[in-house]
Symmetry: C2
Subunit: 353 residues, 2 copies
Amino acid sequence: MSQSSELPELDSPPRAVTIQDVARRAGVSTATVSRALALPDRVAVATREAVFSAIRETGYTPNAAARSLRAKSTKMVLVLLPGIGNSFFTPVLNALEEVFTEAGYGVLIGYTRQSRRRETHYARVIRAGQVDGVLVVTGNVPRDEEFASVPDTVPKSLMFSEVPGTEHISVFDVDNRNASAAAVRYLISQGHRRIAHIPGAEGGLEAQERLGGYCDALRDAGLPVDEALIWRGASNFDFASGDRAAARYFDLADKPTAVFAAADEIALGFMRALKNKGVGIPADVSVIGFDDTEYAIHYDPALTTMRQPRTEMGRLAASDLLRRMAARDGAVPTSKVRLPCELVVRESVRRLG
Amino acid sequence: MSQSSELPELDSPPRAVTIQDVARRAGVSTATVSRALALPDRVAVATREAVFSAIRETGYTPNAAARSLRAKSTKMVLVLLPGIGNSFFTPVLNALEEVFTEAGYGVLIGYTRQSRRRETHYARVIRAGQVDGVLVVTGNVPRDEEFASVPDTVPKSLMFSEVPGTEHISVFDVDNRNASAAAVRYLISQGHRRIAHIPGAEGGLEAQERLGGYCDALRDAGLPVDEALIWRGASNFDFASGDRAAARYFDLADKPTAVFAAADEIALGFMRALKNKGVGIPADVSVIGFDDTEYAIHYDPALTTMRQPRTEMGRLAASDLLRRMAARDGAVPTSKVRLPCELVVRESVRRLG
DNA sequence: CGTATTCTTGTAATCGATTACATCTACCGT
DNA sequence: ACGGTAGATGTAATCGATTACAAGAATACG
């Protein structure tokens, strides 16, 4: 519909319209077209108009590959997610996409699925210059040798994970240890003395920190840390892990009055299993979670939990990466930002005594 | 660590290693390097080895932009999502990423957020040749003029939406109307006669079809379709909409014994609101949902629902797109695939009488 | 042994933009 | 009126691969 009557092209091969076509039509050189687009005020008004109408008439859109090749910038970022079907990341991804798109950047997603093959694959994507920056959402980038080979000229950021010694990486996380301690302190403040913990999967740094915070809070309150009340064995931050932990609860003779789960989904799985067997929540057991996902508030009872500011972290991390990508050769230093968590009191914790 | 002792480069500007570097090091032409990579058996064994070790030593990775420019293929697909923070799409995205990555394609995501500006933006991404194919997950691509301007040479697919007259688009969906009718028939089979419906947001085609199915089933069973039992006003397939519908329930003098919600999240929101006021589910009201999201099974009571095969649809749609992208000039025709839904009976529906 | 065929490799054009540099015009001050 | 400067535009190199074509070497066949 665009290159209608003027040009007598036979459109068997519907060749895309290039800057050449626009230049010819506007009666200028390709350099002028390029300038009209990139720096409109370095080109005379009349010429600019001519170029723009030629663009409109031909329906021209600059070719991304050509532009990237020459300009050495793709205007794309890679967002790496662990990729378990976890809804925890939904708002994060939303925030990231929002900020990046607004700034004219495209978002390439990758699920690493803790598989080395996939990490290698994405390392290659980065080295191929396919993206201008990388945002790793919970993971262990720096551990991987493949990633070590990607040049530090590509800005990288990490979210939700605390990894030591990452000089060239911006980090956005929360103080998992202190936040967890605060959650447990809350239980203590409500009169609970016998408090169990369902940690996340071993190996995970966040899980470890949260367990640490749990122990800290108990010790600070002069309460014993009882291994029988630490129900390890989670495979992930998921329902199934909470479900499994319930077995530990039922096995126990001297039951706790409260449970701190390392994640909302674990808490929900646990609660579900207990309710199934007629255990009342919070009547018989109080439960507190971590994250404040969408489902925490809609569950019955609504889950009391420690909120992570996921959307805000996404926004901050994206903005930071944007800033660093825009700066030539690392003029902008990396950031280490630790955001505060917030206790959200709902219905799953009962005051004792 | 790679270009260590041999080459006396000063690495102030850490220029990326190119095919030229590899060629020089292996003592061959760039053409040979390219061939060794793309068609290994068209190059002599000895040469191939030389090339590969040169690649290994230099840590070479082909530049994506250069490759795309010349080969006119980016090995990327654009996945467009509506982008509400809906967990419905999580497994879909998972499946898509899985299949595409496996095939060597990158996944660019875009949230349209029903905003014209964003749709325009993504239309431009396509026209810029940034992707080889497009997968729209629930949306109205064809309606938009911008999209009309993207050439049909870019394979496009649509998931979960039924849009008439889309010649050049593959469609993967379910029979929303019949599946809904089946859900309602199930309620009827359990002895329910007075059945309400919470439709999805107006305007949405799926929502409309599901409402249609609800009416069909009632009529087929000789039951009246009562407008007082159709609780419109959903803004989305979300909790809040279910919550709002609950008000309608309480307003009603002659209450229904069962409710068919157009989506699980609506059902969950509705159930939550009822339970809050002491209404028993399924003791007092039976509820059936649609989708079978992760949360349906973990709720209390576990939600009886009509499952959409989200992962399977994702896999099929991705494979189809892959096939069409691989074929030069539309040799592979588009598909229209309609997958079956499946009733998942759990705890939220009670047998009457 | 000479020609035809197959293998292997190199040369150079090409993809479609951006941009350094050159050129030309117009306007400025003295 | 003339050298100087600013402004507008064009020329052509360049980004880093792929690939058509050509050429040379090796093998086959009569």
